[in-house]
Symmetry: C2
Subunit: 66 residues, 2 copies
């Protein structure tokens, strides 16, 4: 399986935000819809900072609303 | 291997932009640095529109410079 773990960069370190992610869909309002392989969803105001597929890792950072 | 193919949405259809991509790194200037599993790189002014890891597919769209 080729899912990835999504991490959130907070104050210089990386926190696991969601495991086994299949899909990320940036919304037009600056939020990211994230869906794991089980169909569970999370939404976060943020942007993608780095994707490394061979490492199964996607790094996000939070952004300001508006 | 868990690389993905990167497609570019142009005029409503999807064109293959780069195969076997390992890494995507959004730059602060709005460009995306894309690196495949062989280390080859491409840079495009654009943003990520959709990621589907189980489908090995990442969809981009071009954005305006500046």
């Amino acid at each position: 399986m080729c899912e990835a773990n999504v991490y959130l960069e907070i104050a210089g370190h990386e926190e696991l935000f969601m495991e086994s992610v299949d899909m990320i869909h940036p919304e037009t309002d600056g939020r990211l819809l994230i869906v794991d392989i089980f169909g569970d969803q999370k939404i976060i105001q943020g942007k993608i900072k780095h994707i490394s597929l061979l490492n199964h890792k996607i790094l996000l950072e939070k952004t300001e609303i508006g």
